[in-house]
Amino acid sequence: MATRIFGSGIKRREDPRLITGKARYTDDFQMAGMVHMVVVRSPHAHARITSIDTSAARGAPGVVAVFTGHDLKLGAIPCAWLVPGSDLKVPAHPALATETVRYVGDGVAMIIATDRYLAQDAADLVQVTYEVLPAVVNPETSTKEGSPQLFPEIANNVAFHWVASSGDDGVNQAFAEAEVVVKERIVQQRLLPTAMEPRAVLAQWDKYAEELTVYSTTQNPHIARFILSGVTGVPEHKLRVIAPEVGGGFGSKIPVYADEALAAWASMKLGVPVKWAETRSENYQVTIHGRDHVEYVEMAATKEGKVTAIRGTVYAGLGAYISTAAPGVPTILHGLMYSGAYAIPHIRAETFGVLTNTTPVDAYRGAGRPEATFLVERLMDRLAHTLNMDPVALRRKNLIPPFENGYTVAIGLTYDSGNYEAALAKALGMFDYEGFRREQAAARQQGRYLGIGVTTYSECCGLGPSQVAGAVGFQGGLWESAIVRFSPAGKVQALIGASPHGQGEETTFAQIIADELGVPVDDVEIAHGDTNRSPMGWGSYGSRTTPVGGAALVTAARKIKEKARAMAAHLLEAATEDIEYGDGKFFVRGAPDRFKSIQEAALMATLAWNLPAGMEPGMEASAFYDPPNFVYPFGTHIAVVEVNPATGQVDLQRYIAVDDCGPQINPMIVEGQIHGGLVQGIGQVLCEGVVYDDQGQLLTGTMMDYAMPRADMFPTFEIESTVTPSPHHPIGVKGVGETGAIASTPTVYNAVIDALQPFGIEQMEMPLTAPRVWKAIQDARAKGGQ
């Protein structure tokens, strides 16, 4: 038998088209009669619209039409995660503002022209007069009395207040009786997702068939269809959403935005295809941002370092309107993860969802879990410093012991499987920890500041059981489906409901099929991203495509295999129970030369000349898979940094990541996912951060102003893994799309704080830029630190 295709690091079949310019993105599509849309946007963060004069714009060259919110017949842009028990108030979010604008970038009018550049020129001719109102940017400040109010019906801008607790009495008692309590105020700064391809949409109304086709840069075409149907009034069976090549999303392409609805409406109104494509600065202004927390967190422990409780109060910025999944991110995906990889008996998480005059905030890679992991890992290191304990020893004392089938943490989640100590041991095996501590001590004598951060994390992904989705207010299911079929000539086509956009499932899913059915991987085609072609699914996010969509695919493939076995038995004139399978062939037990290949069985089932009694023709199966639980990947990350005290520059010298996502379908792709996640997570520590001025003006509005991480900031990542299968997944896999972004931020942050221990520095606000670190060192020296 040849090398098993499952687990083999074959090259991604997506890449040739991506790197040779043959991929087709939404903006690449051209249609006869197509016109272009540009949205006129508010330059003010908060203002009343006094008047809008579109007359000059209407007369501009190339202009087909100009519309304001008064012209629209569109529903409000909905929120699709209505977290229960949180007194959530969702303010109306019109596609174009008519009375009040609430963030820089809020749409006030749209231009339709024959050319994108003429539309842009005409946008400048729309005269909008504003009465500028005071704005609020910081989510904590926003809740205070006297802050500018975004919506009259939402007092103090608090859109929801959510609490999860293992029992308040227990939590309070644990803190009251604690021998040690450590506290921190953590600011999770706002981040820009910066997918390589900005958003775009091409809407085509077929007035004869009364059907709407929408090409969209979406991570979830079926959800987009669901929401667009509600907003436009076009029934779902007359609405087709196509996600062609999508150039990354990181969560920013989950929501349905006003722009998609506007293009769809304009196409229906004008009867021609309408295209809209974002510029990069527009992407920074209006496409969702991530994180934006102000957190007050504390941890209680015994003097011996046994953690007894953790609690936090989080002010989570939502921006000016509540985006599609926004309420779920700082609550369900964040507050329920305060236990991390540790056995902590008492936990309480409290979140205020707060409106501010800023771009809406929604899921960004990791979505809630990076923030949770950061606060847990941060408090762990702080506790270690307070107790004068080694941070690794402290973690070892608190890690959840190995478990293979379920461990329920105090706040209620049941982790599927974990062996945290094994991942930690493996990471430490790649690194001479004791030797490093000696080197660190020696270096300090020479005025050099080395630091180490060690994170032992567990995260929750593979979203998720639909019953749970319903219970937590997600306005959809979270199952996936797949159709697998043989063509008469023996090729396999698999149609999936999930919508990969860079994660490589066209390759890994072909590996799954090839492995299950024993066909050559090149004979398998994975199709996705078109609601008229793909079966129903809920999209690609939350590291769910393989844990959920992959399980649906395996289930469908196994159905096919059983049908092929029955067909082969019939052809071989043997009982089905006597048929064995190996390497794509069905043979009679004890007579391996009497066999039928799976392709022969498929062909005969398709021809249907001679079917066993009761068998339907064809070789096709579909499966719907609703996961019984989430999956919980975990691991240990280690970062080594050196901080130059003269400049404040942080040099990341080594990065070790040991992640456990169960069996790996394609280790090269797993490694790629981890690399990307690490870069995004470390970017948050070292350079990234959205800056608004106090009037709500976005100051980091271009790639020249917002610092993206660069390759020269990183050492070669040292990647290893352990393998702990998920007990409930048919092939044991867990998600790996977000682990890098979840674990790396606290790891590098803690390494920098460790380096600065001689100065007594315990905290700095991210990003840890050279000026900020330098200033912290200067301040510490002034106060009498080293």
Binding site: P43, Q285, L698, L699, T700, M704, D705
Partner: protein, 151 residues
């Protein structure tokens, strides 16, 4: 955003004042001005169209310039508002003239409070600190060139 700068003219204070009050001189000196026309029914107020060429943003801005609080020959206020390119600019500057010891030169000081909104704010705050004084210098240089030749 607070901005300020100084400029020294090689002329006496009265001559410089006259020059600064001369709309035609201003029109010639405004960097990249495409037009400057008086607003009917108002004094010391003009509509201007300025073409701005900055990275990311280049294109026309429509604006209004107003002079007020003139105390000849010592100080006056210049108020500017403009919009274009999905951005709004507003600012007010107090301009003060003082003669040097001999009276042959005049020191101009300007202190401005500027607001930038919209797309330009995304790059503007970073650039404004360096671009605004540069443009001011460009303007005063062009004004100085229009000073009457010394007798």
């Amino acid at each position: 955003m607070q901005l300020s700068g100084t400029y020294t003219f090689n002329a006496d204070q009265q001559t410089v004042w006259k020059l600064l009050m001369d709309p035609q001189a201003i029109a010639k000196a405004l960097p990249n001005a495409q037009s400057m026309t008086p607003i009917e029914g108002e004094t010391d107020a003009w509509r201007v169209i300025v073409k701005l060429n900055l990275p990311v943003i280049n294109g026309a801005f429509n604006g209004i310039i107003r002079m007020s609080e003139q105390v000849e020959p010592d100080h006056y206020r210049l108020t500017v508002s403009g919009e274009g390119q999905q951005s709004v600019i507003g600012g007010t500057a107090l301009i003060t003239l003082t003669p040097d010891a001999g009276g042959a030169k005049t020191l101009l000081k300007w202190v401005a409070d500027a607001n930038i909104s919209g797309k330009l704010a995304g790059i503007g705050q970073r650039l404004a600190g360096s671009v605004a004084p540069m443009m001011a210098n460009q303007f005063f240089n062009a004004m100085a060139k229009q000073l009457p030749a010394r007798p």
